[in-house]
């Protein structure tokens, strides 16, 4: 390392590794891919490594939590040292440890650990288990980096890395073209949404002459009055990126397609990591968000539209895994609203609180969904209908998850959601436009959540399983993922039936994994291993009692003044809606309340209202442009390559002047004499 000017001392290159727990929180998961790829050759070994390291990562997070609670945590530990990019700008690359980030870190660690345990069972005979476990480790590390980042560039690093890992996870079963397409789409959509992110970060950082989060916030808090437009622009850039990562309107369509990934991947992406990252990042900058009304308003509108729309879509989905996906969109929007409606000088606690509770119950639900889907080899309504009646052992945990999702007291979901509604109501009374919009949307979404949670529950416990179509072929577990491949997407969309399944038989392929797995050792497959089940139970427990966290000093929320009327009215309406859904489900084949809705609406909803076509329409001109550019390039190249011919033609023409006759030479000499003479006289 003495390559520099011989001036390197330990301080410039020191990785500042008076190793803090905060470092370990990031590094331990990051070590998983390294060790798994380098050291292990077999799945079992990979499992040992990844489970151990992710547990240690969780332990480090808990240690950090303990430290933070005692007030002994290092607030901003360095990482790889300051980047030297000239005197006028500093890139310290510090981490930032505060109470909210520590809480999120623990949640992330926990979910990741549970996912690692569960994955071993879920992908027992998958030849690419090692890669999957490694990717999950990297994913966790990236999220932890975003969570603990105290520097805009570190945030960007984690942010982009997560996008990449999601690509790898969604495309895990790359034998299936749908998985390949879904992965491509997910990455591209989020990456397109990220385009303004770099610009936004550049505005913030270059204004503050530092990428340090604290400096940035301090600078812009003071500068906001004078540079209101710049701040709004920067925040809007960030909101665009957040909308992309968190699958908000108009980037929402990648998320349901991401269900092509194995279920543990979905649990990880949806519960604690990628989609929640937007909340984390905006939470870190919430002080600036408060100062910019346009940014707040845009965020509110985006989140409200996404929340309600996703709620409706969730209710209409034919595939229950996709129902959960849309519910994620809706719940993440809720978190973002929690940030949008904050009062001045309040923290991001509301949004983070919902992030935490959502992480618990959504991870639980997704992992349970994975469990059930293995049992019945599918995730559509036909397959899952009545599954809980058949396997009552799963009933309790699914129930807890759904209750928490619906926001029934005293589950965690209720607590965090109620706090946001409370705050929105208060803001609305104070005359804040954003808060009013948010409140209206929240009112709708509470009911929608109750409705789709109820619908799912009713389907799962439906008792008339005998009527189920015993199709021998494995049912396609989701609709045809539309192409976002920039080139191939121009291929026409395959026709789909009312459930969104392709009509063209050639396109529909049997899902391979389930077939293979059912022939495997049944004991292994009936239920996950002990560790995984422990993880699930832990998640369930936290979903139940997680709400208690608001009483701890770690969260700074106002729980002492609950609005009793609001809660009461809400619960009453939720009950009514649940009853309505129950009534709708009566007499349907699969206990599906949505069966009462016209088929074409359901079909359209299953296709996400064909937003995909808009994406295609947006991308098509780019492809056209690429073709145009290629053609132009061909012209340019042909032009260059024609130069030899041109010179040959010139030579031919000149050669005609060279007649081999002495007189021609004499003529040339005379002409030259005159020309040179003229030049001499004129141009000397």
């Amino acid at each position: 390392m003495m390559l520099g000017d011989g001036r390197f001392d330990s301080s410039t290159l020191a990785l500042d590794f008076a190793l803090q727990p905060s470092h370990l929180v990031v590094l331990l998961p990051a070590a998983i891919p390294v060790l798994v790829i380098l050291l292990t050759r077999r799945s079992a070994a990979a499992f040992v490594v990844s489970a151990t390291l992710s547990f240690l990562g969780l332990a480090a997070a808990i240690a950090l939590l303990a430290q933070q609670a005692r007030g002994g945590a290092v607030a901003s530990p360095g990482t790889i040292g300051q980047l030297p990019v000239g005197p006028g700008f500093s890139i310290p690359l510090h981490l930032q440890v505060d109470r909210l980030s520590v809480l999120v870190a623990v949640a992330v660690g926990l979910v990741s650990w549970a996912v690692q345990l569960f994955t071993r069972w879920y992908l027992y005979s998958d030849p690419r288990y090692r890669q999957f476990a490694a990717t999950v480790g990297l994913f966790t590390a990236a999220m932890q980096l975003v969570v603990l980042s105290g520097d805009l560039l570190l945030t960007l690093i984690g942010w982009e890395l997560m996008g990449w890992c999601s690509y790898l996870l969604i495309g895990h079963e790359s034998e299936r073209s749908k998985a390949r397409r879904a992965a491509y789409k997910a990455f591209l959509v989020t990456r397109i949404a990220d385009t303004p992110l770099v610009i936004g970060l550049a505005i913030l950082a270059l204004g503050a002459r530092s990428t340090d989060l604290g400096v940035v916030v301090t600078h812009w808090t003071h500068a906001a009055a004078h540079h209101h437009t710049a701040l709004a622009a920067a925040l809007l850039c960030l909101i665009c990126a957040v909308a992309g990562k968190s699958a908000q309107v108009p980037f929402q369509d990648w998320l349901p397609d991401a269900m092509e990934g194995p279920t543990p991947a979905s649990a990880l992406i949806h519960a604690a990591t990628m989609v929640a990252a937007g909340t984390v990042v905006l939470g870190k900058l919430v002080a600036l968000l408060e100062l910019s009304d346009p940014a707040r308003l845009v965020l509110t509108i985006v989140a409200s539209v996404s929340m309600v729309g996703a709620g409706v879509l969730a209710f209409l989905q034919h595939d229950l895994k996709r129902l959960l996906a849309w519910s994620t969109v809706s719940q993440v929007a809720l978190m973002l609203l929690g940030l949008a409606v904050v009062t001045p000088r309040a923290g991001a606690d509301l949004g983070i609180a919902h992030l935490l509770s959502h992480a618990m119950f959504k991870a639980l639900l997704f992992l349970m969904m994975g469990w059930l889907s293995v049992l019945v080899a599918g995730t559509t309504v036909e397959r899952l209908s009545g599954v809980l009646s058949k396997y009552p052992g799963c009933r309790r945990m699914v129930g807890i998850g759904l209750l928490a999702l619906a926001g029934v007291p005293p589950f965690a979901g209720f607590v965090s959601k109620d706090l946001i509604i409370d705050q929105a109501a208060r803001g609305g009374i104070d005359g804040d436009t954003s808060a009013r919009i948010a409140f209206a949307a929240l009112a709708c979404v509470v009911l929608l959540t109750a409705a789709y949670s109820m619908r799912m529950w009713l389907i799962l416990i439906h008792r008339t399983g005998a009527q189920r179509v015993q199709a021998l072929e494995v049912v396609e577990d989701s609709y045809a993922v539309q192409e976002v491949g920039i080139v191939d997407m121009l291929v026409g969309l395959p026709p789909v039936d009312q459930h969104g399944r392709p009509i063209d038989g050639a396109v529909a392929q049997p899902a391979p994994i389930a077939e293979v797995e059912e022939e495997d050792d049944l004991l292994v497959h009936q239920q996950p291993g002990g560790g995984a089940r422990f993880g699930l139970q832990l998640l369930a427990l936290l979903s139940v009692v997680g709400g208690l966290l608001i009483f701890s000093p770690m969260l700074d929320v106002d729980w002492k003044h609950p609005n009793g009327w609001l809660i009461g009215a809400g619960l009453l309406l939720m009950g009514a809606v649940a009853l309505l859904v129950r009534m709708m489900s009566v007499g349907t084949v699969y206990g599906d309340a949505a069966a009462r809705v016209p088929v074409f609406v359901r079909a359209a909803a299953s296709r996400g209202f064909d937003v995909d076509r808009i994406y295609v329409a947006v991308v098509r001109p780019v492809v056209g442009l690429a073709h145009v550019v290629t053609r132009l390039e061909g012209r340019l190249d042909a032009g260059v390559q024609r130069l030899p011919e041109a010179s040959a033609a010139l030579a031919r023409r000149t050669a005609r002047l060279h007649t081999h006759r002495p007189t021609t030479g004499l003529l040339a000499v005379s002409v030259g004499l005159v020309a040179v003479g003229l030049m001499g006289v004129i141009l000397w």
């Binding site: 030899p644 030579a651 000149t654 030479g665 040339a668 002409v671 004499l673 020309a675 040179v676 000397w684």
Partner: protein, 483 residues
């Protein structure tokens, strides 16, 4: 009235001149001497070269004058470092040409005449370098030119006499133009001396200044023929392809040295004017480079190819002179040195090949196919020579020459000319790459192939070594033209 004489200073001119007479006498006495006339000529030329060596040593006076008018008057013969270098180059190249011609079988009576003519022409080339008055300048210039015409004609084939006729007519007209230019010079300066004082004197008066300019461009036009600058070049391909191969080399090298030397004598006088640029030179250089390269691009005959390459290289040689400065004079001389060396090496290879495989095979470019595998020595040497002309490493010396040529132009901020030069550097690479690719390409065996003549082999090896050595240490060659 008495002139001072320093024989040792005049020796480089006198030895070949006297040798020329001696050779004629010898031929009369011993008519059966045959081809050994060439050997005698080579020895004489080398002796002349040896006499020129003291002038290039760094310790030598600069300039060294003789034939000075009394009472501190002007000197009619003056050799500075650049001049001495050019003399040396002319003599050595003449000697090499003589050695190259040695093994070629010609009728015995013709060898003597040819050797004599070669000596005479080389003497002219050597003399013109040092002449400082119009009279000796004109005489020496013609001494360098007329024997060359005869040398071309002496091959006595139809193509040779055609080439000689083209060369002759152009030479006659050009000489008339040069003479006219000389007369104008005399009219402008009122003095037959080519010194800077006279020029300065003439430049005072606007009228005579205008006449002086006209004189310079007339002389330029007249010398343009000898340098084969476009549009005075039409004879070049005809003469090159008509003459025997070594004589082609003589036209390409020694003759060029004489021409540039003559031009430099005039230029040295003009530099005192302090004019920054001479547009006519720039235009001629640009046109010559471009046309020469473009024509060479489609030429299939090796000798005509070399002729066109000479045309374009002539453009490079005079390029620096577009900026009128003493640095430009040195740069032009430096480029000429490198050009002479490389061209001589190429001609040596072609001569050797023509002698071994027959002229038809040596003149057809396509018959060089796979020479690398057939005759690696010739191929590598030829490649080195071509690379030097291209100005690409490993022939660093060619690169250095390019630096020297562009330097004054860039220094004088003649951007357009510089850009044209750059384009021509590219074109030049395209030109020589054609030949180079053939060398490395598919093998094509001639109908009969003899072994190389030992003398040719030695010359080729020496040439390759010279290029290699100067590529490693370019200063060894460049120091001949002063610093």
């Amino acid at each position: 009235m008495k002139l001072t004489y320093h024989w040792w200073l005049l020796a480089p001119v006198l030895i070949p001149a006297v040798g020329c007479v001696l050779l004629l006498v010898l031929d009369a006495l011993l008519p059966r001497l045959g081809r050994s006339h060439w050997a005698i000529a080579a020895v004489l030329l080398l002796a002349g070269a040896a006499a020129a060596v003291p002038g290039v040593l760094p310790s030598a006076d600069d300039p060294r004058d003789t034939l000075c008018l009394p009472h501190g008057g002007a000197c009619l013969y003056s050799v500075d470092h650049v001049g001495a270098g050019l003399q040396l180059a002319a003599l050595v190249s003449g000697a090499v040409i003589a050695l190259l011609a040695l093994p070629i079988r010609v009728p015995a009576e013709r060898a003597a005449v040819q050797a004599t003519l070669l000596l005479a022409a080389t003497a002219g080339a050597t003399g013109v370098v040092a002449s400082r008055d119009l009279g000796s300048w004109l005489v020496m210039l013609e001494l360098a030119t007329l024997p060359a015409i005869a040398l071309v004609a002496l091959r006595a084939r139809r193509a040779a006499v055609d080439g000689a006729l083209a060369l002759l007519t152009t030479a006659l007209v050009s000489f008339a133009i040069t003479a006219m230019g000389a007369a104008l010079w005399f009219a402008a300066t009122g003095s037959a001396l080519l010194s800077g004082d006279a020029v300065l004197h003439a430049a005072q008066d606007p009228d005579s200044r205008r006449i002086l300019v006209l004189a310079v461009v007339f002389i330029l036009a007249g010398l343009g023929f000898k340098l084969s600058l476009v549009p005075f070049h039409a004879w070049t391909p005809e003469a090159f392809s008509g003459a025997s191969v070594p004589i082609g080399g003589f036209l390409a090298v020694t003759s060029k040295i004489a021409a540039l030397a003559a031009l430099l004598v005039i230029f040295r006088g003009v530099t005192v004017l302090g004019t920054s640029a001479l547009a006519a030179v720039g235009v001629l250089a640009a046109v010559s480079m471009t046309l020469g390269n473009v024509m060479a691009l489609r030429e299939r005959n090796a000798l005509r190819f070399l002729a066109w390459s000479t045309v374009s290289q002539a453009g490079w040689v005079v390029l620096p002179l577009a900026a009128v400065s003493s640095r430009a004079v040195r740069s032009a001389a430096a480029y000429l040195m490198v050009y002479a060396l490389a061209t001589l090496v190429v001609f040596a290879v072609v001569t050797a090949l023509a002698h071994a495989d027959g002229r038809a095979d040596a003149t057809d470019l396509s018959s060089y196919g796979g020479l690398l595998r057939r005759r690696p020595l010739l191929a590598v040497t030829l490649a080195l020579g071509l690379l030097t002309l291209m100005g690409l490493p490993p022939a660093v010396i060619g690169l250095v020459a390019k630096v020297a040529a562009i330097g004054p132009v860039a220094g004088g901020r003649m951007w357009i000319l510089a850009v044209i030069a750059a384009l021509n550097a590219m074109l030049g690479v395209a030109v020589y790459l054609r030949w180079l690719r053939i060398l490395f390409g598919a093998r094509k065996d001639p109908e009969h192939a003899d072994a190389l003549h030992p003398l040719h082999r030695i010359l080729v090896i020496v040439g390759a070594a010279a290029l290699a050595v100067t590529s490693i240490a370019p200063q060894w060659l460049l120091q001949f033209v002063g610093r």
